[in-house]
Amino acid sequence: MLEHVYLIPLIPLAASLLIIFLGSEGGHSRMPLLSILAMAWCLAQALGIFWQAACGHVHLPYQASWDWFSFPVDAGGKAFSYSMPIGVLIDGAAAVMLVVVTLVSSLVQIYSLSYMHGDPRFKRYYAFLSFFTASMLGLVVSNNLLVTFACWELVGVSSYLLIGFWFEKPGPVYASKKAFITTKLGDCGLYLALLFIFTKVGSFQITQIQDFVSRGYLAPMAATLIALGLLAGAVGKSAQWPLFIWLPDAMEGPTPVSALIHAATMVAAGIYLVAKCYFIYVASPLAMETVAWVGLITALLAATMAMVAYDIKRVLAFSTVSQLGFMMCALGVGGYTAGLFHLTTHAFFKALLFLGAGSVIHAVHSNDMRHMGGLSKKMPITFVTMFIGTYAIAGLWPSAGFYSKELILEKVYGHSPLMFAILLFAALLTAFYMFRLIFLTFLGSPRDTVKHHHADESPAVMTGPLLLLAFLSIVSGYLLERNHLFAHLVDYTFPEGMKPEGAHVNALFLNYGVSALVLGSIGLSWKLYGGQDFKLAESLKQKLSWLFNALEDRYGFDEIFLGLVSFSDKSARLAFWFDTAVVDQIFVDGWGLLTKIIAEISNLFDAMFIDRTVDGFGDLSVDVGSGLRSLISRGQVQEYLMYIAIAVSLFATLILSR
């Protein structure tokens, strides 16, 4: 099973190509079944690998490589042909990620059968989804950073295609472009890091780089630069501060896409990349600290922005950004296992929340929570499952979020109590805004009676995945924590003397104290948003309008992005003006002018020494500025060629008289 792991990315790739080229278009196409079948295969294989690894039947990491292409490289003043491999590397983290990606993909694809049914581009949607999954799985299994980067870009382009899936509307189009460019900005850093790695190590093989680093060949400075370059890519892809601005806009895409790409899988790729290259970070304390602070700032800022949003998907988007910040912060403080554990549990409950939100939007045809309310009776399954998801993300016992968040907080406390305090605050905000979402959407009585009247529970194809994800949101934490299963599978062995050690937070406080604070936060949320009309919240908004405005404006980070865009537009126009007005004038027209002046001088010689009247003598004063254009318009090409010949003979004299 493990030896055929290369099939996992290839099967969805084949499915996507088949779907693109075969079958008929239209909202009732049967081609999506092919895509789901492919996903089911991958899921089965991924579960098999996970099971074997969990039971200890196979030994991880497993690696296999094939030749991809060879190109010449230079080392030590000699050039030789280097064979670039393509291959798979399955460690514990990859085994877990495979299950997460294939599982969420399968559920999202099943869910989409109903959600996207009837869309004229139904078939294409599945082709894109399959293509995305193929690239994402390629990213997970690759043992070579260049291939990882290639898949990294391909998930980016799938995200672009899927955000802009409804391309007739301006919103999705703008959002898709913004997402692509913003992540590409981060990718520039990643690109440079790759160049740096190959120059230093002479390989993109992760195991070889790790070997190189562990022998101490990589200077700390180089390690820091490489780590920061990789981080730049991760910051773009995982929507971390300051490049997080694209993710909320990406919600313009179909909701199942948001669940799959922008909650559970692609945005986790940045975290996964940092984890995959963890040995480089470990070699650079500065880079580690940067990772931690980037994550921390992101977790806090995004959580505050989620407090005031009314668009149900935006709340979830901010929440995703914030949770990714938690994971990043965990990795930064040395909590390798904690970060990836949270990645896993978060994938389940965030996918659940998005799919639940999709179910709500499907029913009421609106994203605005102010038009909802009282939906719990109309959509009981959606309500219960979303409540479970919220309960999990708030981190209450015994949900999955409880285990992973506790692990992160413990690690962060060990690193720095200040960071712990900030992260704890972000965790409390999480509970606040997520329950606010539940209260606004499902409780109270309907605020928009028309919409409420038409709302109905979604069909089983949609609620089925919700129920399964809800189940996982409850039990996955406990199951993975049991017997330290996850920690055994996904662990990073720090080199001697590098292991981050610090104070231990009181376990009792973590278990009970944090939970009590979270409950208090939920209570506060109920106080503000639990009622029919949230008067208290509104009056608070009046009093603190500056704060609410700042939050609704996302602290003005969008302005920075727009400023960058307009700056590049301005420089583009400046460059083009320079090209036409200066370069073209000097080097084409000026060239003609120069040769003409030389010719006029020779004319002058003619006139003075050979005593011949020169007819064109007046030209010197008349026509100096018009250069080549005038030469051509007067048809003096031959004359021009003669001028060139004169210039050439000058050059010849120069060469031959050396």
Binding site: F69, V157, F167, Y191, F587, W591, L641, A647, R658
Partner: protein, 487 residues
């Protein structure tokens, strides 16, 4: 076997046949031309199995005396540097000929010049005698002048003469440089293989001067900043198929010359110029991309994107490493394929709408899905998306230049971002958003258009996934070439 001569002169023979045909027989002229293109392409494919990938030496050498009194010989031969370009030329010319079937006026002259052009281009990549090289080099100039000047757009005469004079003024200096090499070699020779081993006899000062003479000719062709301004004009005015050839093949003559002659024969001059070359490369990349971003005319945008992409080639060359060289050569091939298809595709929409203004469209993806898909794929290939041809070659160029020029390379990476920005903007304005009702009657691509574009798309994807098909032919030569500099 004289395979190289067969490849090179088949088009010329066909051109002579076309010349003898009455001009009313348009179908026959088209068939003869297409057949010549196909035969030449087929012959060039025969090179592949016979080519020895493991040697950097020249292969398929043909040698006859031409002007014995001056020791001018007819010498042809190819190695891993020229083989990819020869195949690129025959392939692109064949597709451009298919794309030219839509030409309606003065068909006989058009195809005549086109076939002469092909002979000239192939000869440049195969000639191993400087006089022969110069002969072929100039031979490309005249057909191009007429092809732009007669079948071009509104400002065709101006564009043609600007192209002609600009490139001619460059090549005159090249002629001089060739003569300088001839008179300073013992025994006096134009044999390029002999001259490649003669540089140890020349003083750096001499090499620098001769280098500059060659450089002017090559830089104008590349086109390297600041000699690039003829390019956008020529592209905008040229008919579609001529733009394709101009971008796909003619520009490559510049980089080819830079590698074969400037680097191969004048290492001291090359070394002296290197600090300038890297700056020019980065300017080409970033400045070319910025200029492209300012365009509203699709064709002009693609033209400026060529300036940007040829900057990657220069970057690879300036790296003076085997990696950079192979990146540059692969990038030449990939740029030819990708930009060739971009020009063909721009031609497709221009034939229907008679405008190339980006903002005149909108929402076309719903109306012409096949066209939108092919165009988007070409754009993504051009912006260096992995899995498509441009990625690996761009990456190798950067990888080859990085050890020597870290800061410049880092600046160059910004060019990738800018490229993404303007291609995405074009996709957005033309294909996405609300449907512009003016074009509701637009038809999707027809069979002829598909026949000329789809092969390029297939190769773009194939080389993206499997770059070894191209790289394997180059490796030995590139390793050998990089070795010259370190000696």
């Amino acid at each position: 076997m004289y395979l190289l001569s067969l490849i090179t002169f088949t088009p010329l023979i066909a051109a002579m046949i076309v010349l003898c045909l009455p001009k009313e027989k348009e179908k026959v002229i088209q068939i003869v031309s297409l057949a010549a293109g196909a035969v030449s392409f087929a012959f060039s494919l025969l090179l592949l199995p016979a080519f020895d990938k493991h040697t950097p030496a020249m292969q398929f050498i043909e040698r006859f005396p031409w002007i014995p009194s001056l020791d001018v010989n007819y010498i042809m031969g190819i190695d891993g540097l020229s083989l990819p370009l020869v195949i690129l030329t025959t392939f692109m010319t064949l597709l451009a000929l298919i794309g030219s079937l839509g030409i309606k006026e003065r068909i006989k002259e058009y195809f005549f010049w086109f076939l002469v052009l092909e002979t000239g281009m192939l000869g440049v990549f195969e000639a191993l005698d400087l006089v022969l090289f110069y002969f072929f080099w100039e031979l490309t100039l005249v057909p191009m002048y007429f092809l732009i000047g007669i079948w071009g757009g509104p400002k065709k005469e101006f564009a043609a003469i600007k192209f002609f004079l600009y490139t001619l003024s460059g090549s005159v200096f090249m002629l001089l440089a060739i003569l300088a090499l001839y008179f300073n070699s013992t025994p006096n020779t134009f044999d390029m293989m002999a001259l490649m081993n003669a540089h140890s006899l020349w003083s750096p000062r001499f090499q620098i001067l001769v280098f500059l003479g060659f450089y002017l000719a090559f830089a104008i062709k590349v086109p390297a900043f600041p000699f690039h301004t003829w390019l956008p004009l020529a592209h905008v005015e040229a008919p579609t198929a001529v733009s394709v050839i101009l971008a796909a093949v003619l520009l490559k003559m510049g980089v080819y010359g830079l590698l074969r002659i400037s680097y191969g024969m004048l290492p001291a001059g090359f070394e002296w110029f290197l600090p300038m070359l890297i700056v020019i490369a980065v300017v080409n990349i970033v400045y070319g991309a910025l200029c492209a971003m300012a365009q509203t005319d699709m064709k002009k945008m693609v033209a400026y994107s060529s300036v940007n992409h040829m900057g990657y080639c220069l970057l690879g060359v300036a790296g003076v490493s085997a990696t950079g060289f192979s990146g540059a050569v692969l990038q030449m091939v990939n740029h030819g394929i990708i930009t060739g298809s971009l020009f063909l595709l721009v031609g497709v929409i221009y034939d229907r709408a008679h405008t190339r203004d980006i903002s005149a469209f909108g929402g076309l993806a719903a109306r012409v899905p096949v066209y939108a898909a092919l165009m988007s794929l070409a754009c993504f290939a051009s912006l260096g998306l992995p899995g498509l041809a441009g990625f690996i070659s761009e990456f190798l160029c950067f990888l080859g230049a990085f050890p020597r020029w870290k800061v410049y390379t880092a600046i160059g990476v910004l060019g990738i971002l800018t490229t993404a920005a303007f291609f995405l903007r074009m996709i957005e304005k033309v294909f996405l958003g609300p449907m512009n009702n003016k074009w509701t009657g637009m038809s999707d691509m027809n069979a002829r258009e598909l026949a000329s574009v789809v092969p390029l798309t297939v190769v773009t994807v194939a080389l993206g996934f499997w770059p070894r098909w191209a790289l394997d032919f180059m490796n030995a030569t590139m390793i050998h070439m990089a070795g010259l500099f370190n000696k």
